[in-house]
């Protein structure tokens, strides 16, 4: 009843092509942004901001990166963790070689390094498809993981073999390092993620997004329409790796505060992939929903079970949360194989015609 577009006529193509053509959607997104920028930082505890919101946003960004590759271009990748690692290590090197440049600039530009690496490992994609490509990306994952451990130059020969995060401020407020409050970090992460999500949505709705989706849906037809397959796929690899790289850099510099190579292991790749698929392939909104479900569930389940009066051991809660995540993945796939984003669309469709069934 409230979600009706009747009476909203578009008189220009520009209005028709807007990011959110329906007024209610625009209001909705404005409310979400307002909550994210004001209500959450005001009411949220440090735990909520630092242990839940910050990683959630960072993983959502990584999921967007993988979604560009897998969801939009149809190239299945199991190497996300490796590309995130490239971003993190690149950021660390750049920040220590050029300490005078502000660290947040390096966080964002480290993505270029991982984009370059992504292009190199994307080259086989011209000849290899489907699950074969997925296994090929595993090669990049394991090789990169090995490099992170084996090349001491990457960690400036630290005895700990780990990235150590320098203290940096923005407008006099600590944004990285131990003095940075969860609030400061949260605002930085939120700003980067919102901006990059907006850019991604511009890309996927324009010519480039159509090229990616064309390659995904029917690569032969796309080629015969003059879309160069290799360039298009490599562009997808580059953009995807860029996003993953930035997410990786943020993960270390704004969340972990220090990281070993194991932070970018194969398990990270699997986690991001499940976020993308549960959230919805080819949907930016889905990346957020998937990240929320996969990342938050294991954190929320133990206190939730505890609040039901079930007093269980920490380990048992962990086992149960594994089982529940597994069951939920299967459940959501059965209910809606196209992910949470499609569920949301269906819900909107229902709202649009409510109270009539259709």
């Amino acid at each position: 009843m409230f979600y009706r577009e009747a009476g909203q006529f578009k008189t220009t193509y520009r209005a028709d092509m807007a990011t959110f053509p329906i007024t209610q959607d625009r209001i909705g997104i404005a409310i979400i942004l307002m909550v994210a920028f004001t209500v959450i930082p005001y009411f949220g505890s440090n735990f909520f901001l630092h242990a839940i919101m910050i990683p959630f946003l960072i993983f959502a960004l990584a999921a967007i990166g993988l979604n560009i590759l897998t969801g939009y271009t149809g190239l299945l990748s199991l190497g996300t963790g490796g590309f995130m690692g490239v971003g993190a290590y690149a950021c660390y090197k750049l920040a220590t070689i050029f300490p005078e440049v502000h660290i947040l600039i390096w966080v964002v530009t480290s993505g270029f390094v991982s984009a370059a690496v992504g292009i190199v490992f994307g080259l086989p994609s011209l000849r290899i498809k489907g699950f074969y490509l997925a296994v090929a990306t595993l090669a990049s994952q394991f090789f990169l993981s090995w490099c992170f451990i084996r090349i001491p130059w990457l960690v400036n020969y630290n005895v700990s073999n780990a990235i150590e995060v320098p203290r940096r401020t923005l407008f006099g407020v600590h944004v990285t390092g131990p003095e940075a409050t969860p609030h400061a970090r949260y605002f930085v992460v939120l700003a980067i993620v919102v901006a990059m999500t907006w850019l991604a949505s511009n890309l996927v709705r324009g010519r480039i997004g159509r090229m990616w989706m064309a390659v995904r849906d029917m690569d032969i037809a796309a080629e015969l329409m003059g879309i160069k397959l290799l360039n298009t796929k490599l562009l997808a690899f580059a953009v995807s790796s860029f996003y993953c790289g930035v997410a990786g850099a943020m993960l270390v510099f704004l969340y972990y505060g220090s990281a070993e190579a194991t932070a970018f292991s194969i398990n990270q790749s699997f986690a991001i992939l499940s976020m993308v698929i549960i959230g919805g392939l080819g949907s930016l909104l889905g990346s957020f929903l998937g990240a929320a479900l996969i990342f938050m569930l294991p954190l929320l389940l133990p206190p939730f079970l505890g609040s039901l009066g079930l007093s269980i051991q920490a380990a048992t809660a962990e086992h149960l949360s594994f089982m529940v995540i597994g069951a939920l993945i299967v459940f959501f796939l059965i209910v809606e194989p196209h992910g949470l984003a499609r569920l949301w669309q269906i819900a909107k469709q229902k709202l649009r015609v409510w109270p009539y069934p259709y």
Binding site: Y13, M17, A221, E223, L224, M225, G226, L235
Partner: protein, 266 residues
């Protein structure tokens, strides 16, 4: 937006010719030593029984298959083999026998995808979207809306094409090919599986495209009636070989063609 070395070809001159083309997969010979030409502005039909090598011929023309022998001359440029990208930039568009649309994209996006080669705003502007990229998008949207109006598919603009019935999909596919503003349009059985009404609509679109945009058309079709009505000239393939070439009336009277269609033993 044409290749710089292009020579302008006037109506009636040869736009494309294939000479002595042979194609085989492993031991199977799909096309044997076939030559014919397509003249600018005409509707050229390629007919023949099942397995005659018609679709393979189209695949050779737009570069999806590479023939072992022979050459292709398009707009005066001789090639051993065509590459898909050269074909597309040179102005060859096509539709497919089994509809090769981008299934999860909407009708609008499918046809907009046909404009890809004509859109040039860089990655950077695409990222920002507002400004030049949007301007370009609007310009092309206008063109695409013309095509949508022309094909009368306004009502399915926002529907993912995978959900459309077959007849409409064929129409969207034609729209996508038209969006490329091709000089040569290859249609692979555009009327297969359609009912009479849909066929008539499709015939009308083909003729309109030919008249209105002056597009040269090469089509594969099984329905003899349709072919005889539409085509200026017809080439007949059987078992990968050319058995006849000429106007519909000439072909209709050709003994080899009659044999091929009636199934006289070879």
């Amino acid at each position: 937006m044409r290749a710089p070395d292009e020579t302008t070809i006037k109506a009636g001159q040869t736009l494309l010719s294939v000479e002595g083309v042979s194609l085989s997969f492993g031991g199977v010979k799909a096309i044997r030593n076939v030559s014919f030409d397509i003249r600018k502005g005409e509707i050229r039909a390629i007919i023949g029984p099942n397995g005659a090598g018609k679709t393979s011929m189209l695949n050779v023309i737009n570069g999806f298959y590479h023939p072992q022998e022979g050459q292709i001359t398009f707009k005066g440029i001789k090639r051993k083999k065509m590459r898909p990208h050269d074909a597309a930039t040179g102005g060859i568009a096509r539709t497919f026998q089994n509809v090769a649309l981008f299934k999860s994209m909407t009708t609008l996006d499918n046809i907009m995808a046909g404009r890809t080669l004509r859109m040039h705003k860089s990655f950077f502007w695409q990222l920002l979207r507002y400004g030049p990229a949007e301007q370009e998008e609007i310009e092309h949207r206008r063109k695409v809306e013309e095509i949508i109006d022309f094909l009368e598919i306004q009502h399915i603009r926002r529907v993912p094409v995978g959900r459309l019935p077959y007849g409409l999909q064929k129409r969207v596919e034609l729209g996508r090919a038209l969006a490329m503003e091709p000089e040569l349009l290859l249609l692979d059985e555009p009327m297969a599986g359609m009912n009479l009404e849909e066929k008539e609509d499709m015939c009308r679109y083909v003729i309109d495209v030919n008249n209105h945009y002056g597009t040269t058309i090469a089509l594969i079709e099984h329905d003899m009636g349709v072919v005889m009505d539409l085509a200026n000239r017809v080439v007949v393939l059987d078992y990968g070989q050319k058995i006849a070439d000429g106007t519909p009336d000439e072909v209709k009277a050709n003994k080899a063609v009659i044999d091929a269609y009636l199934g006289v033993a070879h």
